[in-house]
């Protein structure tokens, strides 16, 4: 048995979204059971099945360091604060 991750999208709209997972003995059975379990009420027009053991999962320690680099968040808050301070000082 393999675990398959199920992704669906509506034709011409949106991106594929993760819908869930299922276990199946082979690819053909995974297709049949995904059809019955996840799109029996036409929840999607397109179906992707990805075997979980084919998913490349990055190590958490490899991903985490980028969480503490606030200088990469250029949302303008720091510049806006500095401009506001300048404006108030010149009034």
């Amino acid at each position: 048995m393999h675990t398959y991750e199920v992704f669906l999208k509506k034709d011409g709209r949106d991106e594929f979204r993760h819908a869930g997972a299922l276990d199946a003995a082979n690819d053909a059975l995974a297709e049949v059971h995904a059809r019955e379990t996840y799109i029996r009420r036409a929840e999607g027009d397109r179906l992707w099945l990805v075997r979980r053991d084919h998913v490349i999962v990055a190590d958490v320690d490899f991903v985490a360091p980028n969480a503490d680099k606030p200088h990469r968040h250029h949302d303008g808050a720091a510049v806006a604060a500095r401009r506001k301070a300048n404006r108030e000082a010149s009034e």
Partner: protein, 253 residues
């Protein structure tokens, strides 16, 4: 004319197919909640619902031929309230089993035969029947994919292969018996409703079984079965199907 009138040959021919679809659909849906795993509960009973849909379309054709408007009431009378001797189902679809291997093998056998039967009426001179065949065949390719996908891994392992072949020994004689020509078939062929006899499907079925199960099988020398006679499993099956109706036949839902 009432729905209980003596059927004509063409009606008999259509009823044989409709009753097979109806009872096969019922048998499949009874696996909801008890199939080997959740997704299969859904898949098997969905396939059963498809077969019930095919039965409905065929019953509606019978009613139209009788000049009866197909309504919930008239379809129910035909589907549920004939006397047992008026049904034309085969033993293959009446046979009761709680064995998953038998249910699965019957599913494969029935859908293999069903596909061939639809092909016999795909070019029917009776246009509504050809339309029903076209619609049913679209669903049937999915049914066969389902059966194939389950049987592939099961036949690849020794223990499950043995169980499948044991089930095949039980189900195959019933599958061949279902190829006994129903009443009205010669009339249906003469009028161009059907392009050939179900009896001629014994050869293709033998070939398909040999290839699928990788085992030697031979068609019986003679295929004799009477669709006017019900097997012992019919009455309990029909009683389960009528269970709610029987509480109050006249209730309005």
């Amino acid at each position: 004319m009432s729905a209980a009138a003596q059927p004509t040959g063409i009606e008999e021919f259509l009823l044989a197919f409709a009753d097979d679809e109806h009872l096969m659909g019922q048998q499949h849906t009874e696996w909801i909640g008890v199939a080997p795993f959740l997704e299969e509960d859904l898949a098997f009973s969905s396939i059963g619902q498809d077969e019930l849909g095919h039965a409905l379309m065929l019953y509606e054709l019978v009613l139209e031929l009788r000049g009866v408007e197909p309504t919930d009431g008239s379809v129910d009378e035909l589907a549920y309230f004939r006397g047992g001797e008026q049904y034309r189902s085969s033993t293959l679809v009446e046979y009761a089993t709680t064995d998953w291997a038998e249910a699965l093998v019957r599913h494969w056998l029935y859908d293999t035969i069903e596909n061939l039967r639809w092909q016999l009426v795909a070019q029917s001179s009776f246009a509504p029947l050809a339309e029903v065949a076209a619609r049913a065949q679209r669903e049937e390719s999915y049914h066969r994919q389902h059966a194939r996908a389950l049987l592939d891994p099961l036949l690849a392992s020794q223990i499950s292969r043995l169980r499948i072949l044991t089930a095949l020994d039980v189900m195959l004689p019933m599958a061949f018996a279902s190829l006994s020509p129903p009443a009205g078939e010669s009339e249906a062929i003469a009028e161009g409703l059907a392009s050939g006899s179900v009896l001629d499907l014994a050869g293709p079925l033998t070939g398909a079984v040999t290839e699928r199960f990788d085992t030697d099988v031979a068609a019986p020398e003679t295929i004799v079965a009477d669709r006017r006679v019900r097997s012992a499993d019919f009455a309990p099956l029909m009683s389960r199907m009528r269970e709610v109706f029987d509480l109050d036949h006249s209730a309005v839902w």
